[in-house]
C-alpha cells in the first residue's frame, strides 16, 4: 500500500475525503461535546525509511510560565506512560505529540485507532493543563 492509498483509506475510516500532496497531509479532528478544541494532525511520509511521522498539535505552551509545562511534557514521555506510545516535543511554542511508525504498521494497526490514541492524549494534556487549541 502506498502512502497516498493509506491516506485515502484513512479518510474513508473517518468518513471524509483525504488526499496527500507531496508526501504530506494535514487535517483537523474534533469530538462531539469536547471542551478542549479540535486537534490538528499532520502526517508526513519519509520515503527513504518508509516511515510515517504522525504529528498532533497539542496547542501553545506558555514558555514564560516557567519550567513546569516543559517538565510535565517530559514526564509524560517517561516510559510513554502519559502518551500511549507517542512522544511530546516542542516546535517553537507549539507542543506536539508525535509517533513515528512504518507505513505498513500504520495500515495494519489501523490508522484511525493510532490517531484517536493521540487525540485522547492531547485532550487529556489540555484538560490537565487548562489549555485549548490555538491552531493557526
Amino acid at each position: 500500500m502506498t502512502f497516498e492509498e493509506a491516506i485515502a483509506a484513512l479518510g474513508e475510516e473517518f468518513g471524509v475525503e483525504l488526499s496527500a500532496e507531496d508526501g504530506k497531509v494535514s487535517f483537523e479532528v474534533s469530538a462531539d461535546g469536547g471542551d478542549f478544541g479540535p486537534v490538528n494532525f499532520t502526517l508526513t511520509y519519509q520515503p527513504e525509511t518508509e516511515m510515517l511521522l504522525v504529528s498532533a498539535d497539542a496547542g501553545v505552551v506558555d514558555l514564560e510560565g516557567g519550567d513546569a509545562p516543559l517538565l510535565k511534557m517530559l514526564e509524560a514521555n517517561h516510559m510513554y506512560s502519559g502518551t500511549e506510545g507517542a512522544s511530546f516535543s516542542l516546535d517553537g511554542e507549539h507542543a506536539k505529540l508525535e509517533r513515528l511508525i512504518c507505513l505498513d504498521a500504520f495500515w495494519q494497526e489501523g490508522g484511525k485507532s493510532i490517531l484517536m490514541s493521540l487525540f485522547r492524549s492531547v485532550q487529556a494534556w489540555r484538560e490537565e493543563n487548562g489549555t485549548s487549541a490555538e491552531i493557526e
Binding site: 511521522l53 504529528s55 514558555l63 514564560e64 516557567g66 519550567d67 516543559l70 517538565l71 511534557m73 517530559l74 514526564e75 509524560a76 514521555n77 517517561h78 516510559m79 510513554y80 506510545g85 512522544s87 511530546f88 516535543s89 516542542l90 516546535d91 517553537g92 511554542e93 506536539k96 508525535e98 513515528l100 512504518c102 504498521a105
Partner: protein, 148 residues
Amino acid sequence: MTYEELIEEAGAAIGIEGFAPDDDGVCMLISDIGEIVIMDCKGQKEMVLLNAAVADVPPNASATLLAALESNKGFKDTNGATLSVDPETHRFELSRYAFLEHLDPDKFIEMVEKFATTLVAVREKLESAGDKLAEGELPDLGGEFIRV
C-alpha cells in the same frame, strides 16, 4: 521468535554467550557510555523497550528542558527514540521501543547500536545546553527577556 530467543541470538551475535533476561524480562548492556536496559513489555502487542539514563536535570533547567523537547521534534535528533524525565529520580532518560514481531536479531542489534550512538549525542547536546546557560547565555524561551 520469542523475546528470550531474540535476546539470546542477538547476544550470541555480538559475542555474549548465554545472554538472557531475568524473570521479569529485563536484561542490561553495560559499557563506558552507561547502562542500556532492555525490557519486554507485554501489552496488546509485545514490545521490546530500550531505556538509558542520560543526565541529571540541572537546577536551572529551562535550557536543557527546551533542548530535550526540541530534540524530540520529528525524532530527527533522537533516531526514533524519546527523551523524557523520570519524575522519581529527576533524571533525563532516553527510551525507544519496537514491536517484537518486527524484530529479528540483526534488526535488534542495529536498533541497540543506533540507540547507543543517540545516547552519546543527546547527552552531549543536553550538557552543551546547560553549559550555555552557565556561561550566561539566556535560553531561547520564545518571549522577550531583559538581562538584569
